[in-house]
Symmetry: none
Subunit: 242 residues, 2 copies
DNA sequence: TTGGCAAAACTGGTCTGACCAGTTGGTAAT
DNA sequence: ATTACCAACTGGTCAGACCAGTTTTGCCAA
């Protein structure tokens, strides 16, 4: 294959895998040419391909920048109608948990298979912070742990989908943490599930990871239902994000 | 604006306006450079942009050719980042199929469990139209069938997620139809899979439906990979929504 | 010391002309 | 007629120069 094309793919992969964040400046053409050991012309051709694909934007005198649109961009705070549904429609919570069961299983599977050392490090970091915070008010660590796994799946579609559900996810995670964590036996089970999932991914056991992740979400799902059946009112969490 | 970009747009416009037909050979780089009064380097950069957009393909020693399937582009019903990624990045197709495997399995499971008589009627209608059209050019019936099942799941989150991926889905369905349908044995297998899935849902067998739907998507996935491995070029589909 | 301005040192954009590497077709030798 | 080869296409890569915006640097003046 032509060098320019190879380079364009390598660079795009880098960007998609998070090596380069959106709006971040790319190395200059001359630097890339030197580092990759090719002429500047080839670099320019590769960059034009990326430009054609909408991956980067180039500005005269300034440099090339990763397009805002591409990849795991933050500000997609648009879950649209779904956020509304959640309030007053507890079933949405179970609907989401059903979907999460599938997606997180797949994410864990792929993460165990494809995670880079950096990914594993991020996951470890997120895992270590799981129990160091007041569980009642803060669902972020929990969510971060799951998010780290998703990103390690290296499946942009999966990342995109779950990112689109981010706010809704935060709510359900918050809901589950708020309802489940105060019950010691529940909390212990969940901690164990997290640990096992973590170990499975570190040990690179895709099937185990998938099974554990799926089981974990299902456990949360059924626990919530169980609590609700017992008449205990589900603690409602609403959108108060900072 | 940079000359290379201008030229790339002018050439694309030419192609879209019918000035150059698909599979037609474009003038050589040196000719273009002379005629347009610019250096060959600029022409090459412009051509690489078109390559990035999937408008042309370039073959060493032969020339550049207008891609088989070029869009008489309508508007961009933009799904944001992902659509862009697809062009020129076959991996996205497999990424999406991985996700679909999970989601459609779940959708089928829930559909078999929860579908109302009206749902079943809609599914039946969509199913009956599966083979009544030219499969090479129209992927809509296929997509409609899957969509009907998803809607019958009565899980708003699931519907929402898959709806967000609608355009991207259409592309992959189109890609799979275009690549797999011409092969008779493939077409038969897929028809059989569709029929069994349909029957499982009608018979209200959730587990079977899930298994069949998952297997179906996985089959498509692996078939595409197999075709690609054999060196047959995957037919690239770009956005040509009616 | 501080402001402001100009030059230097970046960035990408274009040009030139050379040479390498596949492809094709015609021609000369068999 | 067939085969082998070579010349003339095609795109792919390279080197170095210069132009055109942008940012940094640093000096000089207030």
């Amino acid at each position: 294959m032509a060098i320019a094309q190879e380079i364009s793919f390598r660079l795009e992969q880098l960007i998609l895998d998070g090596g380069l964040a959106p709006e971040q400046k790319m190395p200059s053409e001359r630097q890339l040419a030197t580092r990759l050991g090719v002429s500047r012309a080839v670099i320019r051709e590769a960059l034009h391909e990326l430009q054609g694909r909408g991956v980067i934007e180039t500005r005269h005198g300034k440099g090339s920048f990763v397009s805002q649109i591409v990849s795991t961009n933050e500000e997609h705070t648009d879950d649209g109608p779904l956020l509304h549904m959640f309030n007053g429609h507890p079933r949405t919570l179970y609907d989401l948990l059903e979907v999460r069961e599938q997606l997180e299983g797949q994410a864990a599977y792929l993460a165990a298979k494809r995670a880079t050392p950096q990914d594993l490090h991020r996951i470890t970091k997120a895992f270590s912070k799981l129990d160091q915070t007041d569980p009642l008010t803060n669902a972020k660590p929990d969510h971060n742990f799951h998010q780290a796994i998703v990103e390690a799946s290296h499946n942009p579609v999966l990342v995109h989908v779950l990112n689109g559900l981010k706010n809704l996810m935060l709510l359900t995670v918050q809901a589950s943490v708020a309802n489940l964590n105060p019950r010691e036996e529940m909390r212990n089970k969940i901690t164990t599930q997290h640990r096992r999932l973590y170990q499975a991914i570190m040990a690179r056991k895709p099937e185990s990871a998938k099974r554990l992740a799926t089981a974990h979400v299902r456990f949360v799902n059924e626990s919530m239902k169980e609590i609700e059946r017992q008449g205990t009112k589900i603690i409602r969490v609403s959108l108060d994000r900072a």
